[in-house]
Amino acid sequence: MTKTTEDQWPMWEVFLQSKQGAPHEHAGSLHAPDAEMAIQNARDVYSRRNEAISIWVVRSEDIISTSPSDAGPFFDPATDKIFRYPKFYSIPKGVRGV
């Protein structure tokens, strides 16, 4: 039997915070019927070994993403603009506290 997307519960993206003050980082995704079950599943699938002190889940379809075809205009122009990097500028002698 071929599974179609209609057979599946919605997909959720899971973000874990490893310690206080650390950012929530993407851990993976899973299927769940609703938010509460997504949180529970995330706990069981991605935090079995004490990986998290906090979990976020968000519906995958709610994430807005760049598309691969945007990659050129979005990201390439940055590569030849070395003046955007701090190393481009030499710091005059005598300047302190930088």
């Binding site: 519960w9 899973l30 299927h31 599943n41």
Partner: protein
């Protein structure tokens, strides 16, 4: 270790075995889902809960072993006793049947073990209070998991509702053994070692009844009699089959080591 007289040691041995057997048999039942659950996320969730239960059983078997006059180890107690020596409630050994039965069995058990471990954690006997406190954190999560599933199955589709109703109707008669307060338990209670189980029935109902109602499940009428006897080694036919599978390896290769 605290000093207890011979009689108290025997009572404690049997009492602690009851807890350990409840957790082991339920854990083994849950482990039967491994690789067969409806979805991978639930497969992992049930395996996690099974491992929690078996870990709790291990802690209580180790404590029970310190009171065993035959000098058996935790492994001996788990793998070398026959069904008539097991003291778990009959609810634990009931077969998985389907996902709804598994969840109903779990929910009824969790709704007892949360308040039970809360009380056990206050025991004056520290060796018993400590594993109770550790287990409490785990069963609180188990209850959250099983309660959410009761709500979703009951208030889900016509099919999931009727399967859960069937499970609740069939398992209802096994829900009173947790609250038996036998004379031997009473003696331990009077020594401030164990809680009064019978007092937990009201708490159990406060947990169970509103959730079943919200899940659109009809609360069954109380049956003519409730199942009893598990604490004294009286079991349904299902336990023997479970033990045969669970114990085959250590019984076939008695010296096998991990």
């Amino acid at each position: 270790m605290a000093e207890f007289d011979v009689k108290t040691r025997e009572l404690l041995f049997n009492y602690i075995l009851g807890i350990a057997d409840d957790r082991l048999i339920l854990g083994h039942r849950l482990s039967e889902w491994c690789g067969h659950a409806p979805i991978i996320e639930e497969d992992i969730a049930m395996a996690n809960i099974a491992l929690d239960c078996i870990g709790e059983a291990d802690a209580f078997y180790k404590l029970a072993a310190t009171f065993d006059t035959e000098g058996r180890s935790a492994d001996d107690l788990a793998f070398l006793r026959d069904s008539t020596e097991f003291r778990n409630v009959q609810l634990s050994e009931q077969p998985n049947t389907d996902f709804a039965w598994t969840i109903a069995r779990q929910f009824f058990t969790d709704a007892f073990y949360v308040p039970f471990f809360e009380e056990l954690a206050k025991s004056s006997y520290e060796e018993l209070a400590a594993p109770g406190a550790k287990a409490l954190k785990e069963v609180k999560y188990h209850l959250r998991h099983s309660r959410e599933w009761i709500l979703r199955l009951g208030d889900g589709t016509e099919e999931s509702n009727s399967r859960l109703q069937d499970a609740v109707d069939n398992l209802w008669m096994y829900t009173r053994e947790f609250f038996e307060f036998s004379d031997s338990v009473k003696l331990l209670y009077e020594l401030d070692i164990v809680p009064d189980n019978s007092a937990l029935l009201e708490k159990w109902k406060e947990t169970v009844l509103p959730v079943l109602k919200d899940a659109l499940i009809t609360i069954p009428e109380d049956p003519p009699y409730f199942a009893t006897g598990g604490r004294n080694g009286l079991h349904t036919e299902h336990l023997g089959h479970l033990l045969a599978e669970m114990q085959v390896l250590p019984r076939t290769y008695p010296d096998a080591k991990w």
